[in-house]
């Protein structure tokens, strides 16, 4: 199992490193910008007051003052950039784990050896999840050295909370992608399906925030549960978010591994 685990990570090490470095560089840029933004905080707050409340809520921005680094990072980094990076990384790792191998026919190389399908699926799953854990930890806790360099105060507990929420979000997205990767024999189909689903979820979340009579649609969206502003600004993590992400991850993993065990892997 560890042969499959380490080989999978080794083959994707550059890709994973690039994602981590890009995330750290983005965080660094925002922390470096923060002192000047903080000085302009009063002016910006006045400008933000003119924004419609429902619009701010739709984009997960409910508390907009740049007097703290957490507010600034929540709006600039964790609202869009970080989840997008986590989604791209998760989809890519998952689609390469099964669907791409079936598409290229290389899965025969592995399954011609004494390796069970569950072991193959499990090792690739753990490898992908490990990469996401690494990405989440580095992209979040890089705040510690970078904030020290730029003499910016921060609340570590809030970053721990957003890291937990981010990891749960990334885990659920990755598990959904792994499930579809076990169904399809084409990497492109996995990316398009998961991407399409997440775009739909994003739209549902915005529509639910803008229209009171469609409010319940928010419960069908990952982005409703991924309340990064609450996590980073208020250090708040709802039980509902935790359980929804865990449930999605567990169910998708179970269905994916069952399907991979049943399916034809040669095309």
């Amino acid at each position: 199992m560890w042969t499959l685990f380490f080989r999978y990570l080794r083959d994707r090490r550059i890709f994973i490193i690039v994602f981590c470095v890009a995330a750290i560089a983005t965080m660094w840029m925002y922390i470096a910008l923060f002192p000047s933004m903080q000085q302009q905080s009063a002016t910006l707050n006045e400008a933000f007051k003119s924004y419609p409340e429902s619009l701010m809520k739709a984009f997960g921005i409910e508390s907009l003052t740049f007097n703290r680094i957490e507010n600034f990072i929540a709006m600039e980094y964790f609202s869009i950039i970080w989840p997008l990076m986590a989604i791209f990384l998760g989809i890519s790792l998952a689609s390469g784990a099964v669907a791409r191998e079936v598409e290229k026919g290389t899965i025969e190389l592995v399954l011609a050896r004494p390796v069970s399908r569950l072991k193959l699926f499990g090792s690739r799953y753990l490898a992908g999840l490990s990469a996401l854990v690494l990405f989440t930890l580095l992209s979040t806790f890089c705040v510690i050295p970078i904030a020290a360099i730029h003499h910016v105060d921060y609340a570590l507990r809030n970053f721990v909370t957003v890291a937990i929420l981010g990891l749960l979000f990334a885990w659920a997205t990755f598990s959904l992608s792994m499930m579809l990767s076990a169904f399809f024999s084409d990497k492109g189909k996995v990316s398009m399906s998961v991407g399409g689903l997440l775009v739909l979820m994003y739209v549902l979340n915005i529509v639910a925030a803008l229209k009171a009579n469609l409010k319940d649609l928010q419960y069908a969206s990952f982005f409703h549960y991924f309340a990064s502003s609450n996590a980073l600004i208020k250090n708040m993590l709802t039980v509902e978010s935790v359980w929804v992400f865990i449930a999605v991850a567990v169910v998708c993993t179970a269905i994916g591994s069952w399907r991979f065990k049943q399916r034809d892997v040669a095309v």
Binding site: E108, L109, L111, A112, R113, P114, D264, V265, A266
Partner: protein, 290 residues
């Protein structure tokens, strides 16, 4: 003991019956040829045997174990070569070999096999020619001295010199008691290596027999050179298939009793007459085209 038992195997892809009730068995130590035209269901059968695809019905037993339920145990003792060797483009030959060794826990025959097949394992797979990819596939399939070797077109893309090297490796495997199951389009190769064959067509077995018994089938090729001209019509009416006709020459294929043909030919003044058993190729074409 039987190394392979395939019973009533079926595999449907939607409405298409790729394999339709195939049954055959292979004794331990036997070299078994699996033949058929393109699209006959050979690769699908092999993939069912390797548990890459799941049968719609029937059973496959390899080395006394269920190919599906005991897949992991079976593969500890099976070497497999795909008809089209798929490799990880960014890995070298050595990477593939080490990966296979770690998964199979096999002892190191890689260097010896690489030397015999004149293969350089330091090159990345994406830079390998089709022939070299085939060589790497062969090394991976023979790495752990398997008890059962399943090969889909083993000498595909290899030059005659390397084909002989492969035959040598298969001969050695046979001598140590391994069972070899191979599909092939190369009938000379089948004639040379295999002891028994199974012919499959449109997903169904049309013949299973020893090579020598197949050759004894009453299928003849007759070539006659006569004085004057010879008419093919009389021979066609007697059931012969005229392969070639040129005024005083005729070549025909006869299935069954040749006596009426010989009697008809006795009416001509013969310069030359040849009656020979049909080649293996003729026999298989007979099955393929039936």
């Amino acid at each position: 003991m039987q190394a392979i038992v395939v019973e009533n195997l079926t595999k449907h892809f939607g409405k298409t019956k790729a394999v339709d009730g195939v049954s055959f068995s292979v004794e331990q130590g036997e070299v078994f040829g699996f033949l058929g035209p393109n699209g006959a269901g050979k690769t699908t059968t092999i993939r069912c045997m390797m548990d890459f695809i799941r049968p719609s019905g029937g059973t496959v037993s390899l080395l006394g174990l269920d190919a599906q339920k005991d897949s992991v145990e079976v593969k500890k003792r099976v070497g497999y070569l795909s008809g089209y060797v798929r490799l990880y483009g960014s890995w070298t030959g050595d990477d593939h070999i080490r990966f296979a060794q770690r998964l199979s826990g096999s002892h190191d025959r890689a260097q010896e096999l690489a030397n015999r097949l004149n293969f350089n394992p330091k090159v990345k797979a994406k830079a390998l020619s089709t022939g070299n990819r085939q060589k790497l596939g062969l090394i991976l399939s023979l790495l752990n001295d398997p008890d059962l070797i399943i090969m889909d077109e083993p000498t595909n893309a290899l030059d005659p010199l390397l084909q002989n090297a492969v035959y040598g490796l298969l001969d050695e495997a046979k001598k140590r008691g391994a069972t070899i199951f191979m599909s092939s389009h190369n009938l000379n190769e089948v004639d040379r290596i295999c002891t028994n064959v199974c012919v499959i067509k449109q997903g169904k077995v049309v013949a299973t027999d020893a090579i020598n018994d197949l050759k004894k089938l009453r299928l003849f090729r007759i070539h006659a050179h006569v004085a004057g001209s010879i008419s093919p019509a009389i021979f066609t009416s007697l059931g012969a298939e005229v392969l070639e006709h040129r005024n005083d020459h005729i070549t025909m294929k006869i299935k069954g009793d040749v006596t009426p043909i010989i009697k008809a030919l006795s009416g001509y003044k013969l310069h030359d007459l040849e009656v020979e058993h049909a080649t293996l190729e003729d026999i298989f074409l007979e099955y393929y085209q039936a």
